[in-house]
Structure formats: C-alpha cells, structure tokens
Amino acid sequence: MLARRIIPCLDVRAGKVTKGVRFLENVDVGDPVAMARHYYEQGADEIVFYDITASNERRGIMVEVVRAVAREIFIPLTVGGGLRTVADMRAVLLAGADKVSIDSGAVRDPQLITQGAREFGSQCVVLSMQVKQAAAGAHLPAGYEVVIDGGRTFTGRDALAWAREGEARGAGELCVNSIDRDGTAEGYELRLTRLISEAVAIPVIASGGAGEPRHLLEAFTEGAADAALVASMLHYGQHTVAGLKRFLAERGVPVRELAWPGAARQPGAPK
C-alpha cells in the first residue's frame, strides 16, 4: 500500500518565501532553498512551490529558485502559480521541477492539460482546482463550483465534472483546494475531497484548512485523500512533518517514516 503523503506548500513572491518559519534561528526564513531543505530533512514526501509573483517581468526569478532547490532536494518538486502555456511549463520542468501544478490557466484553456500531458507525460501534470461551495442545481449537481484567480472569479463549472474532465485530459493528479476552508485552520473540506477521490482513478491531494494533526487524519480517512497539502501549521512552527507522521502512524495511517542510510540488516540474517 502506498504511504499517505504530506506535502508542505511554500508561497514564493519574487524569489522569497512569504510566510516564514519563526522558530528557526539558523535558517533564513525568506530563503526558499533553506526552507525546502528544512522540510526535506524533516521527512516531507514532496515539496510544492506556489509562485504568487504579481508582475510578469519578475517571473524568471522562480525558475532560478527551482534550479537552486533541485540541486539539493531529492524528492518530487512541484511548481505552480501563473503557468499559462506549455512554454511556461517547460521552463520550470527544465529548471528541475518534477511536476507542474496548473490552475486558472487550465480553466481558461483546458487544452493546456491535454498538451502538457502529451508533451511531458501525465506524471508531470497536477490539475489544481480552487473550489467553493454553492447551491446545488442543474449546472452544479455536486454543489461545488470551480473558481479562479484566487477565488475572485466564478466559472460556473461543477467541481466534480471538472475533476473528471481533468483526468480524461491526462492530468496525473488532482489537488483539491477548498477556498471556504483555506486559511481557517478548521480542517479540510472532507465531503468535497471524498466526492472527488471516489470519482477519479488518479491521486487526490487535499488542500485548504489544515490546522491540527487530526485534520490530516480525517483527510486520509473520511476524505479518502492520497496526500495532504500543509502550509501555515508547519510554517509557523506549531507542528513538524515528523510529528504529524508520528501522529498518523500511531493511528494506523501508512506514512513514510524518515530514514537515513546506516547499518542495514541483511535479508536472511537473524533479526
């Protein structure tokens, strides 16, 4: 059985992480390379960088960040935020990202998913969807609507239908972010996560609302998620990746315990 993944997400603006790890004295809290290394050494299963740089002319900085991180971090690295074309995707993949996370760009032009999957393989393409609860109706049978531009623009698309379309177009994973829960620390939107996870055959990453260890436990059980995105609860130092994994392991959730190379028991040798 696959381990349930814990994925720290770092927002980066013009090459600097916008939320810092307060408790760390020896880490430049704005430095994405140092923060990624910190989480890597804690046992993060993957790292996501989300580029929130507003101006286009400074976007090239993100490529440099990815290049520097990829030289030191040997777990999957995902980059998202503002990717609108196959060329945008190629630039971050060539710099060392393993996956790209596409979002508003894919809603505006669904071909972006198809082309990205064809060009780079499905394993490279994560479809990230921002979702808001809405009154269920003919156009929104699931009662969840896809929004873009950080929740400011409503698209009229049903979240479940969009998840299925994303899978059919070749997305390798879905990141389901609840705008209603984002930043609340009240827990993931479990009904939404389960609804989508059961409707597709690709991994689903729960996102938005994690504030306590039990929220991750709920995401992996009630929410049927394969992975959980975590931000503030790690960045502000209340919790560590290792601590979250211990909590989950004690409750029967398979997680990858951090292991460093050392003396190994040879198979067949007495235990």
Binding site: M1, L2, A3, R5, Y40, D45, A70, R71, E72, F74, I75, P76, L93, L94, G96, D98, F120, G121, S122, Q123, C124, G172, E173, A201, I202, P203, D226, A227, R256, E257, L258, A259, W260, P261, G262, A263, A264, R265, Q266, P267, G268
Partner: protein, 230 residues
C-alpha cells in the same frame, strides 16, 4: 572517438591527473531524448560523481558506468534508442564488455524482452516482460493506476546496492507497468501494489530499479552512491 585515439587515458596530457581520473570514472547518462535525465545528473553531482548526459557512442564507450534513466513509454524509448544507434552500443558495452549499468523506471522495463506497453520489443538483456497493473487489486479493491507515490521495498536477496539501506524502506514510484523477469533469481527486491512485483533486479553487471531512486530522498541517494561503487 577517432581510430587513432586510445580511449580516455590516451587523450590526457601528463600532470593532468584530475582530468584523467575524471574521465576514467565518468558516468554516462544515456540520452535518448526522454525527460528526467537531468534529475539523475543532479543527484550524481550532489554525490560528488562526475557524469555527462550523452548519446555519443565514443563517450559511452569511455565511461566507467552507464545509467539508463527516464520517464516515458516503452515504444518511444526503444524507437529513440534505435534511431540514435544506441542499442548496439549498449549491447557491446553492457553484455560484451561487462560495464555496470543502472536502469531506472522505464530503464528497467526496456532491459526485458518485451513490454505490454505499445507491445514493444525491448532490449532483451534480461528474460521477461513488462506488464500493466490491473485496475483491481487484492480483495477486489479498486487500484489507482498509475501507481504514484511512496511504496515499501522488501529486499529479497542481499546485494551491495542495499548497503546501508534498511529493509522495507519507502521509495518513490510513478508507473503503470511493472517488470516481470522470467527468472526469480534476478529479482532482488519487491513491492506490493495490487500484487507483488519486481522493484529491483540484478544480474552480473546489470542493476535496475522500477522506482525513482533519484527522487527517493536520502535512501535513494545512498543506493545511487552504492551503484557508483559496484
């Protein structure tokens, strides 16, 4: 390499010890136009190993070790290897000259005779086939295919590749197909995904992993380093 050159050592001048040493220990990452080549190069560089991504037969002949990495489809991989004339080069270097080769992900599958993917005829260095995961696993539970994520690797036989690597540790996978070698003795580690499958195979100078050891954290790096010492 031209007919008058005598291999890597002949090309370097006196006192150029580091260049000499470097060439003799160079690891060639076989470039067949697929993705993910650079991540193996970065991992090797992090380990202080010299490597070069190349499709030039001369460089591949001069290298001490070879890595066949990558993501992609079996059919396209074989087409690209053939188009670049690399099938014969690999056969000579690996089978005849006994050069250590590490295959990763699609690189393990194309070592076999055939793959169900594209019904591709593969290199045939190892007897067996690559098969697709079924959509249902044990007890009829629905299985997500591809397998994306960290899975446990059970060491079935001792091998220098596992030096310092704990048994049952997690490694990172992204695959829809898995290798099924015909001979059980070449299967040195397995994982479970709906069924138990070959995670690592080894025979003589050939080793290969279905998981991405270049993306599997400190333990993956250790296995990569172990390969450099084989």
């Amino acid at each position: 390499m031209g007919p008058n050159e005598r291999g890597p050592l002949g090309a370097a001048g006196a006192g150029d010890y580091h260049a000499l040493w470097g060439l003799a220990s160079m690891i060639a990452i076989i470039d067949y136009g697929a993705g993910n080549l650079a991540s193996v190069a970065r991992a090797l560089e992090y380990l202080g190993r010299r490597c070069e991504i190349t499709d030039r037969p001369g460089k591949i002949s001069a290298a001490a070790r070879l890595v066949l990495p990558g993501v992609g489809a079996a059919g396209a991989t074989m087409r690209n290897l053939k188009a670049r004339g690399l099938v014969e080069v690999l056969r000579r270097e690996v089978l005849e000259r006994g050069k250590p080769l590490l295959g990763i992900c699609i690189g393990i599958q194309v070592l076999l005779e055939r793959s169900e993917e594209d019904d591709a005829q593969c290199l045939g260095f190892v007897e067996g086939r690559a098969l697709r995961f079924g959509a249902t696993g044990a007890l009829g539970r629905r299985l997500k295919v591809p397998q994306f994520g960290w899975n446990r690797v059970r060491q079935e036989r001792s091998h220098p590749l596992f030096e310092g690597v704990p048994d049952q540790a997690y490694f990172y996978y992204a695959n829809s197909y898995y290798p099924e070698p015909a001979r059980a003795e070449v299967v040195i580690a397995t994982s479970e995904y709906g069924r138990r499958f070959c995670a690592v195979l080894a025979r003589d100078n050939l080793v290969a992993t279905q998981f991405h050891l270049e993306k599997s954290g400190p333990l993956g790096l250790r296995m990569l380093d172990n390969f450099c010492r084989l």
